[in-house]
Amino acid sequence: MNADFPVALILILGGALVPLVRGGMRVAYMLLLPVVAFAWLLMLPQGEFGQVHLLGQTLVLMRVDRLSLLFGYIFLIASLLNVIYALHVKDTLQHVAGLVYAGSAIGAVFAGDLVTLFVYWELTAVSSVLLIWARRSERAFRAGMRYLLVQLLSGMFLLVGGLLHWHATGTLEFSQIGLSGAGGTLILIAFGIKCAFPLLHNWLQDAYPEATVTGTVLLSAFTTKLGIYALARAFPGTEMLIWIGTLMTAFPIFYAVIENDLRRVLAYSMNNQLGFMVVGIGIGSELAINGAVAHAFADILFKALLFMSMGAVLLRAGTVKGSELGGLYKSMPWTTGFCMVGAASISAFPLFSGFVTKSMIMAAAAGEGLLATWLVLLFASAGVFHHAGIKIPYFAFFAHDSGIRCEEAPRNMLLAMAITAALCIGIGVFPGALYAILPYAVVYDPYAASHVVAQLQLLLFSALAFSVLVRTGIYPSELRSVNLDSDWLYRVVAPAAVSFGGRLIGGVQRAGGAAFSAGIQRVADFILRESQPQGLLVRTWPTGSMALWVMVMLLAYLVLYYVR
């Protein structure tokens, strides 16, 4: 085998060839692509391969180390699960886009230099927007356009930041960058957009719920986690990230409580989970980095599982609005069960994946004595159980019976959910397997008795708070509504400002134009008036006046002649 071969091409080129294969062959072919790529990863030695020399710089297409391998593994697992989940989809475009998107995310993970990273960075943006547009509605088209603009903006920040960084340091290497120069700051903004930092976050909640049933699951796996990977690679131990991450864990959960579209609730909770990872990267200790990337690994699975269950609901019930749903456990018992496994995992119940990964970040924050951060993270941990762990399954599958009776999800979807659920529980029960592939050696035991009881208390009393609030009628009911978020700035304020500016310019034009056309009008009126019978222009002039005017002209000529 040749370690120089960029593994991403297996999915990108392989995905592009999907339209040529049909029927059962296509199913086998699409399942095979991530499996082959995974086998390829397992055989790779560590080191830098695929080196290309360009403009005096060495580009590294394949940098294989523990960090890139970890993300490579999980991206390929996610890709395979997504292929299974989407097998019933007839739309070829979505299959191609899904594989190319996964492939480009993997290419970015193995990129050893900023140029290669930039190319794959942009490719993820362009391929992923197709999963939104594939919904083929006006609304999805607009949301996709907004999404694409934000993603390409991130690419521009990366490009300019990378060039400045190259100018300042003389290297294009994609490794620890830090905030020392302007280049580093711009690159951080580029990564921050992908990680959905506060105020740069809203593309996520705006676009993800507008994608297709299967597209949202794919989207949830790659873009933001690629941002986390890039952050862990280039900015570990950057203190500012602790505060950014802390903020990220807290503010989206308020939105999640009052949001009606359950896929949008999940998008907010995604923001909250990313916050935990960003805090871990900001702390930068071995335990914290391990926790951050392990949590990214676990999050890809449980978030995919939750989005899969909501996708199944959207497919069968035709909506994922909390206000319209309820009682679906009667029609979709399996989906309900899988959703609850995802809910338990994201809520970090002992024996589920989130518990063994998130607690490393919490322990690292406590170990560094970051009291405020630790308290906010604890608040966010209770909050995530509340809005994702309880609200999602409760309003979709239980609550009051909406009367909707539908079919259970298609078999391929159930299979994908079953495997994902098994992985979530597997990681929770046997954390050692995941710990073994983390970047640093793990000396951490999540299952200390006091820790387990503490976590169970936190979660159980959060559930009690929910029950009490629902039974007393204080809990806000699900309402058909939208909530203003930072996208309001570019969806309402900015267009209003542009239209106000347009009206201003138009007004000036009209005022000037009015004066101009009034002048023209006066001339025209004069000509018209004087063209009428007896008007100055059509009157019959006497011969004498003609002779008089000729004489005036000749005299003028004579005067001019002498003056000269």
Binding site: Q457, L459, P476, L484
Partner: protein
């Protein structure tokens, strides 16, 4: 089917049973608290029932604040399409 199938959760007394079970489990967990050897970084986290009390009031606060945020943030469903 002449009459729709009755599920266990359709009966409100069963939901009440679940609710009471939840409280019972919570109290059992608090009782366990007494017998545990704790090693927390922050001293207050080792207080009796800290996590339970924190979780309960964190969620009540979260919901009440979010509910009031609706007054500021909530718009009709077609707000962006108008």
């Amino acid at each position: 089917m002449s009459e729709p199938k009755q599920y266990w959760l359709d009966r409100s007394e069963n939901v009440t049973k679940l609710y009471r079970g939840l409280w019972a489990t919570g109290i059992a967990l608090l009782a366990l608290d007494l017998f545990l050897h704790k090693h927390e970084e922050f001293d207050f986290a080792a207080w009796f029932g800290f996590y339970g009390v924190f979780g309960f009031f964190a969620c009540v606060l979260l919901v009440l604040v979010a509910k009031n945020l609706r007054g500021v943030l909530m718009r009709s469903e077609d707000y962006y399409e108008r």
